[in-house]
Amino acid sequence: MEKEQKHVAVIGAGIAGLHTANLLAQSGHKVTILEKEKYPGGHLNQWHHLFPDHSSPEWIISGLLDEQLQFDHLKMISSTEITSIEKNNGHFAINAGNELRIYADAVVISTGFKLFDARQKEEYGYGLFKNVITSADLEQSLKSGQPLTTASGKTPSRVAFIHCIGSRDAKCGNTYCSKVCCITGVKQALEISEMLPETEIFCFYMDLRLYGSKFDDLYLQAQKKHKIQFIRGRLSEAAETHDKRLQIKAEDTLSGRPLRMEVDMIVLLAGMEKNEAHQMFSSTKLLELDEHGFFKSKNIQLTRNETTQPGIFIAGTCICPMSVNETIENAGAASILVNRYLEHQQLTNHHE
């Protein structure tokens, strides 16, 4: 029995999308990746170094893109935004901008996450005070290779990292943990400390959730070698002083005393949020979303990558916050489920 080549559409060319696409192409399926941006790679394009090994994200993206070259039946269409998806007789019709219409036997959604807009926490002054930046801004600054400075060009003598911005906070509607911000903060603190050894660095946290392999080593290193201080307490508000420093107030909950400190720079560890694209899928009743607006899995234990709609799969941070290595693992798992689905379809078609 000869295998009929199936067509899979992958939406989003971040690492989850690229990796799933490669694996599916390797299994012999025809694959089309649709990306709304001009270039693939997603958020990883903006990151400087990855935790825990400080590796560069560029090699991950370029590695995945190089791998693509060996598959003729894999193509990528960029600068294209999906407008709608319809399901007909077990097949999918995907409409995109430029009157593009693609038919597919299965769809993988890997649209990723959106960074929390820190302006929502007005009391921390993002967008208002120049020396309040987010972890993403800091990552860009580190990537630029320029030495880190305050808005007025001075070397910061004291930097404060604030954990849980837009995560675990009912006040901005996100009650879940974004999982990677704690370690991102530790990683970035280490990088600043290596770049500016004289700079004092403080991390204000509610709980340190350093869940991953080798993450605690970074924590120990940050404390021991770099004298980075971890203060358990949530920042209440920031105010600008006349010399454009920032005065922050928190409670040092472990000593039970209010704490006030002037710093030159605040880094807000912004969490991950659902992508706006999710709304398009749920409004047409094609897919269900979970209580946080991420895509709902068919079964959270067994089939994380299957949606409530047969034939549509999900991979990466459109399911929930994940680190880079987890995303890659997750993409692999997604490709296995897609393969299984297509094989089953083949069998039923054959019997018919």
């Binding site: 120990l220 404390q223 021991k224 201080q229 971890f230 358990r232 472990l254 000593s255």
Partner: protein, 239 residues
Amino acid sequence: MQHIETLIKEKLNSDIRFVEGLNACMNCGICTAICPAAEFYDYDPRTMLTIVQSGNLQKIRELLESDTIWYCGQCMSCKTRCPRHNCPGLVISVLRKISQETGAFTQSRMGRQQYLLRKGLGNALLNIGYSLHPSFIKPADHPEQGPVWQWIFENASEIYKTVGANLDEEGPGVLRKIDKEAMTEFRAIFEETGCLELFRLIDQYSSIKALELGITNEANQPDMDQYLHFIENEQETSY
């Protein structure tokens, strides 16, 4: 002021007990959980270690001038439990020494008692080689020991003999008289290790404190007997 804080920093960093005793604390609190002193005193080894770890010299200085560091019983239970191999007990030893060396100890009630210890235990050690000797426990001063002690005290030489001790006699045995040669060697160790210097500093800072408190004799000199009496009777403010 600035000078003292720099001095504290130097002393801290040059002490092996500090370098070995603090290995990045993560505030788990197991030391406080096990600490016998923490159960009864307003004292918490975890908080103390956090302060030292913060490197905030002003806070460390406040610590040196407080009662806190003197509550530790040096049982070192903390050492055996710490998941990061820290030893708050050792860190406290360093802090105590710096407090003695800088005179910070005279700023707290518990700290001032260093003078009491130096006079009592310290002098006893230097004079007879024992920090505590049965002859020190005078029945008049210790009514709580009751009439039996009175009887033991009066018939000491015979009673100690019956339990195999060699009280104040030449030769071997428990409570023997320490011979001259050993005493010389003992004093030399004290001299070499800096203990005598520490004694001298305690004396010096305590006299300064006595002056400061106005505890003086007719010649306007510090009256150290009266000072001893004063620190013996100083009351704990509250617990």
